[in-house]
């Protein structure tokens, strides 16, 4: 592999060969190209620590493994159990619920903030610096911080009884789900705000000038120019929210431990619990595979919608 010469590699190429050939003709020299060997180390590394586990997760889902002895083939046992597992089915619904609520809360908020932050006034720069602080914290730190903040005895609820009642938000299902959605929004809204800020700044000024000439006010400009122009960004941002929401883990582990009872046991947490707490690694793998399938479907949508796969177009992407 290491001796792959650029010539045959160039010869098998179809679509993007024209510019290269034209260039070669003009300069009279063949442009040297890197062989496949340049991509080998990264590909091998990635295959070993990402692709191989992905294959293994499928294999392990057909085994019975307690983490100590060698995995033993168990046929469809895990899958059959999963179909009848009430907690699993509930966990899928909970994952979807938390994801949908997250998108519903974060999208309007981050569009508003993003459009606002895209403005030019000077105080915005200062405020934006504060806005984005949640981005600097790890998901772990965010969860620990909010757990301390919401502690019923020593946190803010103890000082604001008029607002929080007895203050035990995490003690009931609706409260716990609300906290998870809120903390998720607190953590990720700044990120999506940045996406919308960048996209808003890229909207051509001319559009607004034309609309102003036609007598459109601020609100109509927002709905007829800004929002339609942000459509692609909204798709990208929402897909990221969906993938992030479906794989919520740290927040649940630290804030609710899936409780009260199993009221916030979403799939990613249930997988962790089955595998690493109940030592049913085969069953955990089956849940993980369901997660992979869902994520893959979404990834294909991402690639389609955003045009990442059209690798020859030079102005797309970064």
């Amino acid at each position: 592999m290491t001796t792959t010469s650029p010539a045959p590699a160039a010869a098998q190429d179809g679509q993007a060969r024209r510019p290269a050939r034209r260039a070669a003709r003009r300069s009279g020299t063949a442009v040297t190209r890197p062989g496949f060997a340049w991509a080998v180390p990264a590909t091998l590394f990635f295959a070993l620590f990402a692709i191989l586990p992905l294959v293994l997760v499928a294999v392990l889902s057909f085994t019975d493994w307690d983490g100590l002895d060698a995995p033993a083939f168990a046929g469809l046992d895990n899958w059959r159990a999963l179909l009848h597992d009430h907690t699993m089915i509930q966990s899928l619904w909970l994952s979807v619920l938390i994801t949908v609520l997250g998108v519903a809360v974060q999208t309007p908020l981050s569009i508003l903030l993003g459009v606002w932050a895209a403005g030019k006034q000077r105080n915005r720069a200062v405020l934006s610096a504060v806005f984005f602080v949640p981005l600097l914290l790890s998901a772990t730190a965010v969860s620990v911080l909010w757990r301390a903040m919401l502690d019923p005895n020593f946190g803010v609820p103890a000082q604001a009884r008029w607002l929080f009642g007895n203050g035990n938000l995490l003690g009931m299902q609706s409260g716990a789900i609300g906290v998870l959605v809120f903390v998720g929004a607190w953590q990720y809204t700044p990120f999506h705000t940045l996406i919308y800020q960048g996209a808003t700044r890229a909207i051509p000024e001319v559009l607004y000038q034309a609309a102003a000439l036609d007598g459109a006010g601020t609100v109509r400009q927002f709905f007829h120019i800004t929002l339609p122009q942000l459509r692609n960004t909204m798709v990208t941002s929402m897909i990221l929210m969906v993938v992030g929401g479906l794989t919520t883990f740290d927040t649940v582990l630290i804030l609710t431990q899936g409780g009260p009872g199993t009221d916030t046991t979403i799939s990613a947490y249930y997988m962790y619990q089955q595998a690493f707490k109940n030592f049913d690694y085969g069953g955990g793998s089956a849940i993980a595979l369901v997660l992979v399938l869902v994520a893959t479907v979404i990834s294909l949508v991402v690639v389609r919608v955003s045009g990442y796969d059209k690798m020859r177009s030079s102005s797309e992407g970064l």
Binding site: Q12, R33, G35, V57, F131, V144, M149
Partner: protein, 272 residues
């Protein structure tokens, strides 16, 4: 000319400022006061006396060690990413052939694989490799999961290098490695700094791999230290929050001095 619905957005931004500001205020004041002051006067009150006791106590409880471990993990992850990704992106951008296209597709697909999905087999692989409870066992998977986004970012940057420059180097008869070191690397500095920041952040804030792949104090990273602190001494809120502040300190410093690079590294998370 007014471009935006200023009133509504302005109001929203004030609400947001409050939602971000309040926890930050509580966090900072709590860490600078004694436990009794905090529990008797409540989180919203202003501290009577300032003390650094919470921080020194965290350090003597092992956070210095966790800090160093996290530093080692982050440095190693960045090194691996810097070693692997530039040649990969160079091959994707300049190489010709189906194999390179296929490789790029593989990494694109990898973008959507969540770490949660592979954590069980990762546990198996790391155990079989004899790397359980070893920093190397955290470093390798963390680095692997930084590759797709890094490759995407750097490939985008390298594509912006104009073909004329390659032609000029070809006229000199330069082999690929010289093109790489004299043309591609110098012109991709922005992208390189983005992937450095991105992978350092991923490593610094990583939680799931350390949680599942390590166990003892000697290989504990800071996020795991936070989690254990919370489960074991959850009532010591000032001490806990001081640990949160310690965990974000390096990122805060980078934020103050290299905000642009940091924000771009953060945006790498979105791949765009």
């Amino acid at each position: 000319m007014r471009r935006y619905p200023n009133f509504l957005a302005g109001l929203g931004s004030l609400v947001w400022l409050f939602l971000v500001g309040l926890p930050l205020y509580v966090m900072l004041t709590a860490t600078l006061r004694s436990r009794t002051d905090y529990s008797t006067n409540g989180p919203l009150s202003f501290p009577k006396h300032f003390t650094l006791h919470n921080y020194t106590q965290d350090f003597s409880n092992g956070f210095g060690r966790y800090f160093l471990n996290t530093l080692v993990v982050s440095a190693a992850v960045v090194a691996i990413v810097l070693l692997l990704v530039p040649p990969l992106s160079y091959a994707i951008v300049r190489g010709r052939g189906r194999v390179t296209t296929g490789v790029f597709r593989l990494f694109l697909l990898g973008l959507a694989v969540p770490a949660q999905a592979v954590i069980v087999p990762m546990f198996y692989v790391i155990n079989r490799a004899g790397l359980y409870d070893n920093l190397a066992g955290v470093i390798l998977p963390t680095a692997a999961f930084c590759l797709p986004v890094s490759a995407l970012v750097l490939t985008g940057v390298m594509r912006e290098i104009t073909p004329d420059l390659y032609e000029a180097m070809a006229m000199d008869g330069a082999p690929p490695w010289r093109v790489f070191f004299q043309l591609v690397v110098p012109l991709s500095k922005g992208g390189l700094s983005t992937i450095v920041v991105f992978s350092a952040l991923q490593a610094w804030n990583g939680f799931l791999f350390p949680l599942v792949l390590t166990q003892s104090d000697s290989s504990k990273v800071i996020t795991l230290g936070l989690y254990d602190f919370q489960t074991e001494h959850g009532v010591d809120i000032p001490g806990l929050l001081a640990a949160v502040v310690l965990s974000m300190l390096p990122i805060l410093i980078v934020y103050l001095f290299a905000r642009r690079a940091l924000v771009q590294g953060l945006m790498g998370v979105g791949g765009k």
